[in-house]
Symmetry: C2
DNA sequence: GTCAATTGGTATTGAAAAATACCAAAAGAG
DNA sequence: CTCTTTTGGTATTTTTCAATACCAATTGAC
């Protein structure tokens, strides 16, 4: 039956801009937490306030909302993947530091959620796959490639293809421990275990790329 | 409205055993292609023939059907991951050969499909995540660990923790190239490129683990 | 051959959630 | 202040698909 009063004034009315901001954030959270399919508009609306109509007039629907968010999701979540290094420090020091930041990021709940989302929905949403890869693994690899290039110029390593090596270094951090965490088969390693993983990876690469 | 004739005899009737075989195969295909959620029983039935009832009496429902397939899927698909090596050959040779087989398997359409399914649905079906990891990455890593152990005994490398190193070697093969293929951002590398990837990884590890 | 059990095929039900419709209230332009 | 536009909140429709029901036909045991 119809209510006698259409709007009942419980929720405050926000400006279009405010509402959109709140909506985007809520949608982003829900999509990351639940994944695309399991995320329901009801849940998003419940968290954001406002109404269904807003989503439809402003975005056009669930899929359009998601697509509108994709780039933002990837960019906002994956900021820590692109890193600078200190040209004064040693290769070992830089490599360790970058690796530590990258691994910590990879294992953070938010990035894990995003990664799961990207890998699960990448087939259905190629833009997501693209945005994820570019903002994440690719830009991380570029940081490492730049570091390897610098080291090669200095004659510290012999590394004919820094791009490939960088991609492999990122890969070595996504080892079976990472995979288990991704699959929720074990909790994320603590700082101590992370350090061990990084030390191993750094050592292998420093020797492997020919540091004497 | 009801049809005047219940069964119209179009499809041949298979024995229970045959029907189950056909059903399992069709279900497996659909699940691998579409993922769990997007796979519909209608599609499975359309491909397998037979009727809904068969699925419900024999398995109990969609989820039960999927679970009944999971272990079989993982085991059947991931056989090539567990490998033996030749104790007479050199470390480099063995490492290259195992890596080649593993990488080829990882990049095969079937294994890619299964991996996507496992990573996407691992949260909802922990058994799948477990079965996938154990039959795949874990057993692959065990092969490499055994190889590293042998090499260490022979004094060819210094490798205090062969398990960790093996997990990392598997990781280095899942580099950014692999990730792009996984995300369908590029086609799988051909034999030539795979060889290059493997050569790089092997070189890094051989030096990295202290072969002189 | 007889008959109970199983299977094929389809129709129906039920639930979840997306898409749409609607109306009154608030916001904002003038 | 007045009036148009947008928004909030809810109800309704539509869609999708799993789950179930049902009937005839086939199978297979005896």
């Amino acid at each position: 039956m119809k209510k006698e009063s259409g709007g009942k004034g419980k929720g405050e009315r926000l400006s279009a801009e405010q509402r959109e901001t709140v909506l985007r954030r809520a949608a982003l959270d829900v999509f990351l937490e639940k994944g695309y399919r399991a995320a329901s508009l009801d849940e998003i609306i419940r968290r954001a306030g406002g109404s269904r109509r807003t989503i439809y007039t402003r975005f056009g629907g669930k899929e359009a909302l998601f697509k509108a968010l994709v780039t933002e999701i990837a960019d906002r979540t994956l900021v820590p993947m692109r890193q600078d290094f200190d040209r004064e420090s040693s290769l070992r020091e830089n490599l360790s530091k970058l690796a530590d930041r990258l691994l910590s990021a990879l294992l953070s709940p938010t990035v894990l959620d995003l990664s799961r989302l990207a890998l699960a929905e990448g087939a259905r949403f190629p833009e997501l796959a693209r945005a994820y890869f570019d903002a994440g693994p690719r830009s991380a690899a570029e940081s490492f490639a730049a570091l390897f290039d610098l080291a090669r110029e200095r004659g510290e390593i012999s590394c004919p293809d820094s791009q490939t090596a960088a991609g492999q270094f990122v890969g070595i951090l996504r080892d079976n421990v990472y995979l288990q965490v991704f699959l929720r088969l074990r909790p994320a390693p603590d700082q101590r275990e992370r350090e061990k993983i990084i030390a191993g990876a750094v050592e292998i690469f420093l020797h492997g790329l020919g540091t004497f």
